[in-house]
Symmetry: C2
Subunit: 250 residues, 2 copies
């Protein structure tokens, strides 16, 4: 059965599914704001988000006038209080990968699906990230790398990868994960040698950066699950997205 | 494709899959212990875990001599440093439920599958919990309720449900979740009115408690997703498990 609802893209229907409102975000926890109530003074990214000094999300400018077929999360004001140990997440992620391995014939399809799911997560998570992190506009890819490694990974996975192997042009770098919480309980069976177990992360990064106008290529090039000593995610800047409409959900 | 590996039950193969060693646990983060190295002084639950004052897991006593078809996690010494915000988990859980809704014909089957996955997570998570929490042996179900609400939920979901509605016999209570982080971005579509979206949690509780010799019945009886004002999980003590062998993985 396919959940055939245009607005149902991940989980179930995402709250706050109006056009402009769908892109509205919240800063972390506010007293006096109901779970579903909107704060009048808090504009979506199309209004309040793209000012100087903020990591911009200019695509949001068009959300009032153009129909969009993706919906960003309506961040719960209580969500930021949910600081949790990673083990339940790790095991739940394992259940997801196992389910996909049952559903798809080969590892390549599982990898693609993980990337796609991650993308859909990333386009939502970026709003949460911008709301919580108070990160300003990134002026170059090096600054973006810092934000990803030192703030985003710390916030959502509890780890801080190191940044290495910059390309001479400054358009490529690697994130080195000494410990990847996603694989804490995992060994790859021999018959899944092509599985990129943590590929969801690549999709998350790709989706999130696309929402701030950066098209990037993200892939694992080393993985402790494959016997490498560290896990390495390679990120390559492709282009600045000038189009006002994001590529949308996949 | 089904991952037909008897030892592959969740995620992929769980580390440390020897018989006795599979039940070995670790206390959170230790310096000088390699990721896969075992600490000689740290016995599995069958040896060091069941002493007086510890929440016992007597089933572990038989793990040296009897073949077991489930494997408990080999806790990463670094795992406890992974304190993360819950949003990535929330969205990933949403992806899992969505996938199951695609895979199964009706909501009841999805509910069952979520419960089963949760059970398999619970039988692993309990080791991590015991290792981290330093929780002593629970003398009655009221104490168990306290441990679940005030320590386990706080640790793994970042929330502390309240405990209410005790049955006169003291064998049933409710956990009231004011905010369920699993549903932060979710609304149920109309065609999934029977879906128990967060049912994984029931399985986790059932599986974890079974590992400490408690057979319990766990179910949602209120859910904010269904329009209720709170989310209520009802837990009923069924019996003490005297059998040395756990029911095993489902």
């Amino acid at each position: 059965m396919r959940v055939a609802r245009p607005r149902c893209t991940l989980g179930m229907v995402v709250r706050g599914g109006g056009r402009g409102g769908a892109c509205e975000s919240r800063r972390a926890p506010r007293h006096g704001a109901g779970r579903d109530g909107r704060r009048p003074g808090q504009a979506g990214p199309g209004r309040g988000r793209s000012g100087p000094g903020r990591m911009s999300r200019q695509a949001g400018r068009s959300t009032e006038s153009k129909k969009m077929y993706w919906y960003l999360p309506f961040i719960s004001p209580s969500a930021s209080m949910h600081l949790m140990n990673s083990e339940l997440f790790t095991l739940t992620y394992g259940a997801l990968v196992t389910q996909l391995c049952k559903d798809y014939e080969n590892d390549e399809d599982v990898n693609k699906q993980l990337d796609k799911m991650g993308y859909n997560i990333g386009v939502r998570l970026i709003e949460d990230f911008l709301a919580r992190s108070n990160v300003g506009r990134c002026h170059d890819f090096r600054e973006t790398a810092d934000v990803i490694a030192k703030i985003a990974f710390k916030m959502y996975l509890g780890i801080t990868p190191s940044i290495t192997n910059w390309s001479p042009g400054g358009d490529e770098f690697s994130l080195i994960l000494e410990n990847n919480p996603l694989v804490d309980f995992v060994e790859l069976p021999d018959n899944h040698s092509s599985l990129i177990y943590s590929n969801l992360l690549c999709g998350v990064l790709r989706g999130a950066l696309e929402m701030v106008q950066m098209a990037v290529d993200v892939k694992f090039i080393q993985d402790t699950l494959k016997g490498d000593s560290v896990t390495e995610i390679r990120m390559k800047f492709i282009r600045r997205i000038e189009d006002n409409l994001p590529a949308g959900e996949e």
